[in-house]
Amino acid sequence: MKFGVENLACRRGEVTVLTGVTFEVAAGEALILRAPNGAGKTTLLRCLAGLTPPVSGKLGFSTEDVAYAAHADGLKAQLSVEENLQFWADIFGTRDITPAVETFDLESLLTRRAQDLSAGQKRRLSLSRLMLTGRAIWALDEPTVSLDTENVARFAAAITAHMAAGGSAILATHIDLGLPSARTLDLSPYRAILQDAPSDDPFLDEAFL
């Protein structure tokens, strides 16, 4: 699925951190966001996921098509791996959790409670949820944190399969995943402060007394 944004401005708290973000991603393509810490990668991803409405600009797709994976794993410690997955499968109306379990090699962990998992195992569980959403656009915030090389490869394979099936992904990551047809987007030129764009904040009005 092809998607894009036009002239997007996003805010974090009170401050507009990004302006004029424009890009387009074709079906089967991945976009990798590069920017220094605090430049607005998370802000942009939250905006794409529909959590933070954009200050201005257009989202050229429905946020209903975006599956968002945040920094936080969003797991319930007291529930087993299977219960966690089944819950999200029910929420997204997916019957079968086996593809997700197989892709991320979770079979042996199914009955284990999430609080007994290692950080990397939690991450895998959290990422496997993406496959349950059935959504075309994956918006991923630092997905490979605390994954070892083997599992990074597993994750890369999952994204590749997703893109081969016509999906697309937008990732904030520092690792080279070796994805086919991946483009990199540097966010630095869109940082609000560098352009000193006219602000939407009426309290910054120059004529203010």
Binding site: R46, A49, G50, L51, T52, P53, T63, E64, V66, A67, Y68, A70, H71, A72, D73, G74, L75, K76, A77, Q78, L79, E83, Q86, F87, W88, D90, I91, F92, G93, R129
Partner: protein
């Protein structure tokens, strides 16, 4: 939809879920009152409806900050907000599961605790009826309060401050229904008001709660 309810109930009864805490608090409160006001059963039976209602209300208050806080902290709330389930429905289900884990047990326990306060037996029906009709409103108002304070570090006390004035009409009609019932006066009017409040809350508050959640997640 049912999945969220099932998960919340499961979490409530698993270790650390806090199920029964409100009930225990209710029990302790009712046991403490006779020590405070003396064992005179005349006085106790007169204040029993009020004590039981205030006790139920405070027990409800106890678990409010758990409604969204845990989901907010571990990131589940962000994911729920992007899920196909509308937040309005999520808020309703959260209120429902809160009621099932606090309001319903309280309603069932109240007549037995009424015995401890020598409540007249004629009032038992009114007590159960008023709690059954009134506690859902308490859960829904509490969910709204919890939605308002979800992003805050120490929201627990603030929730009480926000929610208590909202609880006032429910408490008044609820306790009034039991008191009138206990004295053999007609209590149906108060009960009807209570039902109306609960119905109104069910119709409107999910939208307010969902709006507050969206504002907090921004």
């Amino acid at each position: 939809m049912i999945a969220l309810l099932r998960r919340d109930l499961r979490l409530a009864i698993r270790a650390g879920g806090g199920f029964g805490l409100g009930l225990a608090f209710f029990l302790i409160l009712v046991v403490l009152v006779p020590f405070g006001v003396g064992p005179n059963s005349d006085i106790l039976s007169r204040i029993a409806p009020g004590i039981l209602w205030v006790g139920a209300l405070l027990s409800c208050l106890l678990s409010l900050d758990r409604i969204f806080q845990l989901d907010y902290e571990d990131g589940t709330l962000d994911l729920l907000a992007t899920a196909p389930l509308p937040l309005e429905a999520a808020a309703t289900l959260k209120a429902l599961s809160h009621w099932l884990t606090t309001g319903l047990p309280l309603t069932i326990a109240a007549p037995f605790l009424g015995v401890l306060l020598s409540m007249p037996s004629g009032a038992t029906f009114w007590l159960v009826a008023s709690l059954a009709l009134g506690t859902p409103a308490l859960s829904m108002l509490g969910t709204f309060g919890a939605a308002l304070t979800v992003g805050l570090k120490r929201g627990g006390l603030l929730v009480s401050l926000l929610v208590l004035p909202l609880y006032m009409p429910t408490l008044i009609f609820g306790a009034e229904a039991v008191r009138r019932g206990a004295e053999g006066l007609p209590a149906t009017t108060a009960l009807l008001f209570l039902a109306a409040i609960t119905a109104g809350c069910a119709a409107l508050l999910p939208f307010a709660s969902a709006a507050a959640l969206r504002m907090n997640l921004r």
